[in-house]
């Protein structure tokens, strides 16, 4: 793999099968620092599968993934502890990347505030609305200040204001030099990104 100071994510010839079904067939793409790439495709085209492979959560059957730095991954459905609060999640995830309680809360609250999350409320995630949970989900992906940000339809459940705010944040991440991949079906927002990669369904599969 030829090194480039700007490239943060390089996917080369990735193949993934689920049993006999080929979900990803020789997929290659690259994302540079400060670039926002939209990943589109029909249901079952393998968008989430590709994101999980890029995050390192799933092994490809063939091909390689190279990354330039820490990965932040926001899954499609929030992976959260039902009976922990937002602050407890921030502290726990912050500890994983070496942040003290104070630093995790300080950084986490700033991130949550950017998405109009009701910071300071001691509500467990089970009692949060879908959109509020998703805001926490997104903040946890951003907490380690990743070089590569993988967002799998991260705006589900957002109200209109937060949805617009999310897309506005692409500018911030671009300015911060993050390489961002956003899975989206929202074709109206594609003018906000730097590139679009459309995944064609290989031979059927799960999205």
């Amino acid at each position: 793999m030829q090194s480039s100071p700007d490239r943060q994510l390089v996917v080369s010839g990735v193949v993934k099968n689920y049993g006999r079904r080929r979900v990803l067939d020789d997929v290659s793409l690259s994302v540079e620092a400060g670039e926002v790439l939209a990943l589109t495709g029909e249901n079952g085209a393998g968008k989430s599968t590709l994101m999980r492979i890029c995050a390192g959560l799933l092994r490809a059957d063939a091909g390689t993934v190279h990354v330039g730095g820490r990965i932040g991954y926001c899954p499609q459905s929030p992976s959260l502890f039902e009976l922990l609060t937002a602050d407890e999640h921030l502290i726990m995830f912050g500890r994983g990347v070496g942040l003290s309680r104070e630093d995790a809360l300080s950084r986490g609250h700033a991130l949550l505030a950017e998405f109009d999350f009701p910071v300071g409320r001691t509500v467990v995630t089970a009692h949060m609305s879908g959109g509020t949970r998703q805001k926490l989900n997104l903040a946890l992906a951003l907490l380690p200040d990743p070089a590569v940000l993988l967002l799998d339809e991260p705006y589900q459940g957002f109200d209109r204001g937060t949805y617009v705010n999310f897309w506005e944040h692409c500018k911030v991440w671009r300015a911060e030099g993050k390489a961002v991949v956003v899975v989206t079906h929202m074709l109206a927002e594609l003018d906000r990104v730097d590139g679009v990669f459309e995944l064609a369904a290989a031979r059927g599969g799960e999205g």
Binding site: M1, S3, S4, R7, Q8, V10, I53, A55, G56, L57, L58, R59, A60, T64, V65, H66, V67, G68, G69, I71, Y73, P75, S79, L80, F81, E82, L83, L84, E88, I91, M92, F93, R95, G96, V97, G98, L99, V124, L140, L143, P144
Partner: protein
Amino acid sequence: MTAPQRVVMMAEMHGRDLVRRRVALALLVALPLSFYLASAGSGDGAVATGGVGMAFAVAGAALFSELSSADVDQRLVLGGYRPFELLLGRLMFLGPLGLVIAAGFSVLMVAVSHPADGWLVLLGVAAVAVVAVPFGLAVGAGVARELEGTLVLIGVVGIQLAVAPDSIVSKILPFYGPRQLLEAGMTGTGAVAGPLLLSVVYAVVLLLLARVFVGPRLGLVSHPRL
């Protein structure tokens, strides 16, 4: 941050999560208690039945702790935790909790059943807790869904209770050592060091087995750097 700090963090958060599950906590105490009280009038076997029955509750708590957070665990590993730290964090909270329940349970059994050696009963129930947590973690790591895990748990503990104490089947199951200790406590005779050592060995082996099982589920693919 060091590995011990991450383990302590996991223990704290699992503690906070479980403490908020008040019904589950109540059942954690009520289940072995009802096992014991239901058999208290049927002779010396009640202590062994009640003591080993505690494995249902403690192992069940470990099992559900593992399976209910499978998705979050994967994300925590991506966020810097190691799979074994997640297991140790659960062990660090559930182990002492199991021992506290065991202590209270032992006091009740000593008061009601008047064993020959109350301290041995305490040791036996504590051994159940020590084996039950890694047993629940191993089952939780080895199966994908809660129903399968629960059935495995019921099967193993149920067989341990149902078979003759000295049968070969009983000897290879994880709660043989604790059961020997409980029976020694009731009669005042019987080996102590052997069953105690066996319990510790089983606990360690089950924890290592949990680590092996959890590897494929939580292991990350390490991408080469550009």
